[in-house]
């Protein structure tokens, strides 16, 4: 009983926290535990009268699929290329918007706008933009004389992964622009003055002042972004549905497929656990590896 002997203030704090604790347990931890449980069961919507435990069968089924190798490779490409391009372009945009100019607020609105759209909506928009028959991208390229024949951006396996990544970059640039701009505005101007006196040009200032100063933001935003891109099937689902011939499937679209087509929550949960395992490994490794980077912090 000693544990529960709280004084008034502590009781009050505990009671105030209770709703949140309940919410977090009810909507975050319970589903996770349930998901782990389901991953080891024969849990298919087709017949819920037989949800017995089947050991590792779900994991075996999903990993032994002929596609699984392609899916892992696609996931790696999807995350790494999207991340690098989003970061580089987002950083560039943030640098351009650092100094105030007339109409900056409106301009920022335009730059940040893509971040406010839902993934499925972006998927549908880009699906029509990239349409090989009546899509505007093909039309523009034809009119500019850059191509002589329409490209099947979403129907040609050579182009499909490229196309979904382009759409993802378009979407994610805004995030880095927002976050890095905020960080850039916190860099004290004295540092630049000092660097200038020391003879640093604009590239030197970027390398020796700006980047080291905002390094913690860079590390945390890129780590977050990796997790989000990894867990972002909406766009691919809306654009190619994993096609053509499965060439754009990533782990999370594969998981959705298991639910939408097969109603097999057991296998879908198994993929979900594989995703969690990969992300935990990545995050641990990433944060460990970037500790050195943080040392350069001011």
């Amino acid at each position: 009983m000693k544990l529960f002997r709280l004084n008034r203030t502590q009781t009050f704090i505990f009671l105030c926290l209770l709703p949140t604790i309940l919410l977090v347990f009810g909507f975050t931890y319970y589903p996770i535990v349930k998901g782990i449980d389901v991953a080891f069961r024969n849990y298919s919507l087709f017949n819920l009268s037989d949800v017995r435990y089947i050991g590792m069968d779900n994991f075996k089924t999903v990993t032994s699929s002929a596609q699984f190798g392609t899916i892992l490779k696609n996931t790696a490409l999807w995350v790494s290329i999207s991340l690098v391009l989003q970061f580089v372009i987002g950083f560039g945009v943030a640098l351009l918007m650092r100094r105030s100019f007339r109409g900056r607020g409106v301009y920022q609105g335009f730059v940040f706008y893509s971040w406010a759209l839902s993934g499925f909506l972006i998927g549908i928009i880009w699906r029509w933009l990239f349409n090989g028959q009546i899509g505007v991208v093909n039309d523009l390229l034809l009119k500019m004389g850059l191509i002589s024949e329409r490209i099947g951006f979403l129907s040609d396996p050579k182009w499909a992964m490229f196309s979904v990544i382009v759409a993802n970059v378009w979407y994610g640039v805004a995030f880095f622009a927002i976050m890095l701009l905020a960080a850039l505005q916190s860099v004290p101007s004295e540092l630049y003055e000092a660097a200038e006196i020391d003879g640093a040009g604009s590239f030197g200032q970027l390398r020796h002042v700006t980047i080291p100063y905002i390094m913690p933001t860079i590390i945390s935003t890129t780590a977050l972004r990796v997790i989000w891109i990894f867990n972002f099937p909406d766009l691919i689902y809306g654009m190619t549905n994993g096609g053509p011939a499965g060439s754009t499937h990533i782990l999370t679209t594969y998981m959705l497929d298991k639910i939408v087509f097969s109603g097999d929550y057991g296998q879908a949960s198994a993929i979900g656990i594989i995703c969690i395992a990969i992300l935990v490994l990545f995050t641990t490794f990433y944060l460990f590896a970037t500790r050195a980077g943080k040392a350069g912090d001011f």
Partner: protein
């Protein structure tokens, strides 16, 4: 002060916590104690125009039954069936629901929907349902688990003006269709013969075509198999069929169509990029709106080399949950929605084939775009109905496999022989596992 605060906080916390808990479970028990019954109803194939008609029908129902109120839930089309399954699985309060040919088996296996035999026995209108509607209503276990509101069946839409220009007649066989598609294709001018379906939903197109090539050997009661017991993928005819399928894509369709789903396929036709389209009657309306009168027409489905076309009747309709607290009122609503008058209103908007025998005398369905349906129904020797394979456990997974393999065949990543071998093995395995 501190003490007061604490006492104030308690009820607030309790209220919040109660909200959290009750948020997870269904709350409404229907009825407000004054003799009014509240029914909850959910639709699946949601579209704005359709929802509006359903609401109008509900309003007339409520007018005729002042003691019943109906609340309609209209989830977005893409996630509707998943939402319905989830609601049923957690026994959320729900009385009437849209049941589809592809979901009925699942709903029955999980004992989520009620057997309507007693209600249909007492309903005079039941005998007036046409043969296809009765068959679809009794698709599972030979018991009526839902009353269809309409039927889907594919037919051929074609550009009459382009056909006339080239002196072509509407294709009667799949070979005719391929030849017409080749003749009409002029890729330099962005004009193609056929609105190919290679993306989501391609499965039905592929399998129906292979059935037509297998002709009269197909076992129509278990249509993934032949009368001999082998699968429809095991024959040389199947190879011919799949070869025609790939040629139709390569020589008569836009390259992009490998990824086309419903929207692109219809858009291709109405935007004047393609000359032929195979679709359900719900496409009549969009085609009518976009293309001028006289530029397009409809025709029966093309037949295979031995003169047989296999068609599947698709259906969706209204069913009742097995745990409804107001089964009497729920049936009243289903019966009302299924009456000939209400069904006529609904089918004209939703673009589906009506369920009553009396509707075939309605000139709206006898003439014009709907006419091929009457023609096909009157020629059972060449147009053979089959029982869809939706009651196999592996059906959902199969749709994905055949879509993906179909694309791989078109891209040359998978040979026709290998694809057929794989599909053959899949269905032999399904047969072994049983339904």
């Amino acid at each position: 002060m501190k003490g007061t605060k604490r006492w104030l906080a308690l009820p607030v916390v309790a209220a919040l916590a109660a909200g959290v808990v009750s948020g997870c479970s269904g709350s409404s028990d229907g009825g407000d104690g004054k003799g009014t019954v509240k029914l909850k109803m959910i639709e699946s194939l949601t579209s704005p125009a359709r929802t509006e008609v359903i609401k109008k029908m509900i309003a007339s129902f409520e007018e005729a039954n002042p003691n019943i109120k109906v609340e309609l839930i209209s989830p977005p089309l893409e996630s509707a069936d998943n939402k319905i399954s989830t609601m049923l699985n957690s026994k959320e309060s729900l009385d009437v629901l849209e049941v589809r040919d592809v979901t009925v088996k699942q709903f029955v296996t999980n004992k989520w929907i009620a057997d309507l035999t007693e209600d249909t026995n007492a309903w005079s209108g039941y005998k007036d349902l046409n043969a296809n509607s009765l068959a679809m209503a009794n698709y599972i276990e030979n018991k009526p688990y839902y009353i269809p509101y309409g039927l889907y069946q594919k037919m051929l839409f074609y550009r009459k003006d382009w056909f006339d220009e080239k002196g072509l007649t509407p294709p009667k066989t799949w070979d005719d269709l391929l030849n017409a598609a080749k003749t009409l294709t002029d890729s330099a001018n962005n004009r193609f013969g056929y609105s190919f379906r290679g993306g989501s939903g391609a499965d039905g197109y592929i399998v129906d075509l292979l059935r037509d090539f297998n002709g009269a050997n197909v076992n129509t009661d278990d249509a993934m198999f032949l009368k001999s017991g082998a699968t429809i993928f095991s024959t040389p005819e199947a190879k011919q069929g799949l070869t025609l399928y790939t040629n139709l894509y390569k020589d008569g369709s836009p390259k992009d169509a490998i990824n086309w789903a419903f929207a692109e396929q219809v858009q291709g036709f109405v935007s004047g990029a393609t000359a032929m389209l195979i679709q359900d009657p719900d496409t009549i309306d969009p085609v009518k709106q976009k293309l001028g009168e006289g530029t397009w027409a409809t025709a029966p489905m093309p037949v295979g080399p031995t003169g047989v076309s296999h068609y599947k009747v698709g259906a969706a309709g209204w069913g009742m949950t097995s745990y409804s607290k107001h089964p009497k009122e729920a049936w009243k609503l289903i019966e009302f929605l299924s009456s000939p008058e209400q069904n006529a209103i609904f089918t004209k908007t939703a673009g589906v084939i009506p369920i009553h025998n009396s509707a075939s005398v309605d000139s709206y369905f006898k003439e014009g775009a709907y006419k091929p349906y009457i023609d096909m129904a009157n020629d059972p020797e060449h147009f053979v109905a089959y029982k869809p394979e939706t009651d196999y456990k592996g059906f959902g997974e199969w749709r994905k496999i055949v879509q993906q393999d179909g694309q791989a065949v078109l891209l040359g990543q998978l040979s026709i022989d290998d694809a057929l071998k794989k599909w053959d093995a899949y269905w032999m395995n399904e047969k072994q596992q049983g339904k």
